[in-house]
């Protein structure tokens, strides 16, 4: 996986920082998780070349230690538990 860069998240992800001081933008893989199931692709750092974000994805990192993250896209809400992703988001938001 390429090094996490906060600016890169914001620009490439087209996502939006949200809520609580511990939430941040999410990469494409989390957006993918919204459409393909509850976090099963959360560790997949690649997306198809023709992938489009559509509606922005908003991440609400609820618990850093359990990795509980609520992801919002359009009218959907998906909650995943992923400590690795939680750590990436937390560090990116610092």
């Amino acid at each position: 996986m390429e090094p996490i860069n906060r600016r890169r998240f914001l620009v490439q992800g087209g996502a939006v920082v949200a809520a609580a001081g511990v939430a941040s933008a999410v990469p494409f893989n989390a957006a993918d998780a919204l459409t393909k199931g509850r976090g099963k692709n959360a560790r997949n750092a690649t997306v198809p070349a023709d992938a489009k974000l559509g509606d922005p994805v908003v991440a609400h990192l609820r618990d850093l230690h359990t990795g509980e993250i609520s992801l919002y896209q359009g009218h959907r809400e998906v909650t995943v538990k992923d400590k690795h992703l939680a750590a990436l988001l937390f560090n990116a938001s610092r």
Partner: protein
């Protein structure tokens, strides 16, 4: 108030603030039921140039429970969108608005109606792009207002006089807020108030009530539908004692879970809708729920109201009345002192009144504790209505549904003061004052013209033509 600004956070979000809910068998068409949900409270009619409107970002709903579980079996959902038609102007209108498609009208609002059914998951768009009327501005901007507003009554599919309206109306709820929220003062009885030892000469003699909402407007969502659209078996009830004759009604407003204000002024919303406001019976969240739980209450389903039942079982106001009016409510004080459960109030507000307590009447939906406005559809409109509803001997009025003119403040005040306690304890003698207390805004039980309700209509949507900003340039400057 009934439910205007009744919770701390909701008071800051008026477009999602449910203020009053009415449900009654339509007096001019007894095969139909009219349900009206009001939002956007306390509108000063002159409040331009950005006059009042529904929230495009709010999902409004009228919910019906027809099997007594406190969950919506049927919902009518309303969503709005706003169109700027003129552009390039700061004005709401650039000339007289004399029709719903007037080119002079800059900021217009439209809505859709969707009916959802829990059983089977039905979801049917009934209509879309229905026009709201403008706000009532004044004789130059909105001449012939009543006719223009009447043209915003829309038919719904299915025939049978199904109709819908969404737009500004005159406030029909009446209450003497200024006195009531001054530590429970009731002007007609204020000489009996404890006054907390203060020397207040103007409170030493009775005074008439003052309607705090007499010159304000609200935004109403009104729908008229056949009884057969609401019952569990599609029947039109004729037996008042049948459990199938009773439906529970409440309204909700929901917002998207996430809202982001971007730096460039663009708002992004995301996530599912979550309920932020609701209303069944008037004054429940207002009076029976402690302040720290009011906003939480707004997020809950009626089916989960058991957690709030203590507010009806041991209402704070029942304890306050004997303290605020020393010696006036000794029998009520005896109930309070014995810590007896006010099962009469629980029945009225949370389960409906079971059969057997009032001859020929019931509006019981079962044992589930749920704040819903319960309407027995088999009870026809009254030929001589009492604004005191059931406690005035009129079973077609509150708490059997709620009509636009029902004096719900007085009804609930008297109920809390003990007039309904004999329902569960026939030996109890209510204090004489319990059947007399009022905030003094009606002359008697037949009075359907309390201040501020003079504009009520005889036909759908029943709530009256809104006050115009020209007529009411400042609240209460005019004797409307």
């Amino acid at each position: 108030m009934s439910s205007h600004r009744e919770a701390p956070e909701m008071s800051k979000d008026p477009v999602a603030d449910s203020t009053d809910l009415y449900a009654f068998v339509s007096p001019d068409n007894p095969n139909m039921v009219t349900i009206i949900a009001n939002y956007v409270p306390l509108q000063q009619p002159s409040g331009g140039p950005n006059f009042f409107e529904f929230g495009d970002d709010v999902l409004y709903a009228i919910n019906i429970d027809n099997d007594g579980d406190g969950k919506a079996d049927i919902s009518y959902q309303f969503q709005f969108h706003t169109v700027l038609q003129v552009g390039g102007t700061f004005l709401y209108n650039v000339g007289p608005i004399q029709s719903l498609d007037s080119p002079n009208w800059n900021r217009r609002q439209f809505f859709s109606v969707t009916r959802t059914e829990r059983k089977g998951g039905g979801h049917k768009l009934l209509a879309k792009d229905l026009a709201c009327p403008p706000c009532n501005i004044g004789p130059l901007s909105t001449p012939g207002y009543a006719d223009v507003a009447a043209s915003a009554i829309h038919d719904l599919p299915g025939g049978g006089s199904r109709r819908v309206f969404a737009g500004q109306r005159a406030e029909a709820f009446y209450v003497d807020l200024g006195a009531v929220f001054d530590l429970g003062d009731l002007r007609p009885f204020e000489q009996l108030h404890t006054h907390f030892g203060l020397n207040v000469p103007e409170l030493t003699r009775p005074a008439p009530g003052v309607n705090a909402t007499k010159a304000v407007n609200v935004h109403s969502i009104a729908i008229q539908i056949p009884k057969t659209d609401l019952t569990s078996d599609g029947s039109s009830p004729s037996n008042p004692m049948s459990s199938k004759s009773v439906v529970g009604v409440w309204t909700t407003a929901s917002r998207r879970k996430v809202r982001i204000h971007n730096a460039e002024g663009v708002i992004t919303e995301s996530g599912p809708n979550v309920q932020v406001s609701r209303l069944g019976n008037p004054l429940v969240n207002e009076v029976l729920v402690p302040m720290e739980r009011k906003d939480y209450w707004n997020t809950q389903l009626p089916a989960h109201d058991k957690q709030f039942v203590d507010g009806a079982e041991h209402p704070e106001l029942a304890k306050l009345l004997p303290i605020l009016y020393p010696g006036v409510f000794p029998n009520l004080a005896s109930i309070d002192d014995s810590n007896k459960v006010r099962s009469d109030l629980v029945a009225i507000l949370m389960t409906g009144i079971p059969p057997g307590l009032i001859p020929g009447f019931q509006n019981y939906t079962g044992p589930v504790i749920a704040d819903m406005l319960r309407l027995n559809l088999a009870i026809p409109p009254a030929s001589k209505p009492s604004n005191l509803g059931l406690i005035g001997g009129d079973p077609a009025g509150y708490p059997n549904g709620r009509r636009t003119f029902d004096d719900v403040f007085t009804i609930e005040l008297r109920a809390i003061a003990g007039v309904t306690y004999p329902l569960i304890d026939p030996a109890f003698q209510p204090d004489p004052a319990a059947s007399a207390v009022t905030d003094g805004l009606t002359t008697d039980a037949s009075d359907q013209t309390a201040e501020g309700t003079i504009k009520l209509l005889d036909t759908f949507p029943y709530l009256g033509t809104p006050h115009s900003g020209f007529d009411i340039p400042a609240l209460h400057d005019a004797s409307v």
